[in-house]
């Protein structure tokens, strides 16, 4: 019997997952600052357990244009992780990374691979803090990217959560340097992996 029931996740379990979210997002911010060679601040992340019907609204509407960078997770835990950014933030990030003015129209191949790499580094630092904290081996796959409506991108992790319960765990972080960047993490471990994460830290 799994210890974790996503629909009835309360109290201490939720706090632990929230704290992992905090530490992970903190490390991701450091990684982002090194990548851009700029000072980057992060607001305290918000962690929420959402109903599927609330997911789109949490991100500024189902039709909000977003960039989603998605990776599969393997090793001691299995599942997936997604980093999402508003499309405008994605353009800002790419332009500061590449040293070019923000582009318009569809992203070029070059911009898409730059974004994938940004996602890879940010989720990588998030996962490595999770790995350090739990002493579990966590490996992520090559990233895949989609620029589309928030609802459509979110359908992918939502479906994964959908096999487990009726809610989805979302970690929202706002990074800021010259301009504010709103980013979201979604970590989807399977139920067995949730148990492994919690028992590895003595829960």
């Amino acid at each position: 019997m799994a210890k974790v029931d996503l629909d009835n996740m309360e109290g201490v379990y939720f706090d632990v997952l929230k704290e992992i979210g905090n530490i992970g997002a903190g490390n991701a911010t450091t990684a982002l600052a090194q990548l851009l060679n700029q000072k980057v601040d992060m607001k305290v992340p918000k962690v929420a357990l959402l109903e599927f019907s609330e997911v789109g609204e949490a991100m500024g509407g189902e039709e909000q244009l977003m960039a989603g960078i998605y990776q599969l997770v393997e090793g001691d835990i299995t599942g997936s992780i997604m980093f999402l950014l508003e499309e405008k933030s994605a353009r800002t990030l790419v332009s500061s990374l590449m040293g070019t003015p923000p582009s318009e129209g569809p992203f070029t191949e070059m911009e898409l691979s730059a974004l994938k790499e940004i996602g890879n580094i940010i989720t990588g630092s998030y996962l490595s803090s999770l790995s350090m904290l739990t002493n579990l081996k966590i490996i992520s796959s090559v990233p895949a990217i989609s620029i589309d409506m928030a609802g459509a991108i979110m359908s992918v992790p939502a479906i994964e959560f959908g096999e487990l319960g009726d809610k989805l765990l979302l970690i929202q972080t706002a990074f800021s340097d010259d301009v504010q960047l709103d980013g979201y993490f979604i970590l989807v471990p399977d139920l067995e992996s949730y148990d492994k994460i919690l028992s590895s830290i003595g829960m």
């Binding site: 997911v55 789109g56 989603g68 589309d148 409506m149 609802g151 359908s155 009726d166």
Partner: protein, 161 residues
């Protein structure tokens, strides 16, 4: 005045003409619109997964193709639609991300469309039109008055099926 009724993810709603019904940002999920052309009563479901029997302890009916479609038919009939006149249009089921090794998760859009198609056939509800697959999200609007199913996608022109 007609109103636009919104259906969320893993949700379903009914409406009567002249009202219309919409769901935003369908990705790998599938939107199924059904309607009785005589009474102009219609409904829209936004399903996420193909099969409720594959998952233990189903609590959320509209989440699955099988339970969601049964419920959709039940509520439109209860609202005055004739079961034998029902017709359907479907959209969604995209593959939003592409990985080299196609895992089961990556093909869930495809599997959702296949399940919906099979179940509608079993229920003898004809699919009049569909816009499914590909790799992009869709917003849909359904007008039970005319049966028009309007599909919007980022960077693409609006189409009506």
């Amino acid at each position: 005045m007609s109103t636009m009724i919104k259906v969320g993810m893993a949700d379903l709603k009914i409406c009567k003409a002249p009202d219309a019904i919409t769901t935003l940002g369908l990705g790998s999920c599938v939107g199924i619109a059904i309607r009785d052309p005589m009474t102009k009563v219609g409904g829209l479901a936004h399903i996420m997964l193909p099969d409720s029997t594959a998952i233990q302890g189903v609590s959320h009916v509209p989440k699955f193709a099988d339970t969601g479609l049964q419920e959709l038919v039940r509520v439109v009939v209860a609202a005055g639609a004739n079961r034998t006149r029902l017709v359907a249009k479907i959209a969604g089921g995209a593959q939003m991300f592409s990985f080299q090794n196609k895992s089961e998760l990556m093909t869930v859009g495809e599997r959702n469309v296949a399940a919906v198609t099979r179940i509608l056939k079993e229920m003898k509800i004809p699919i009049l039109a569909q816009d499914t697959g590909e790799n992009y999200g869709r917003t849909v609007e359904f007008y039970p008055e005319t049966g028009d199913f309007v599909i919007k996608a980022v960077g693409k022109s609006v189409k009506t099926i």
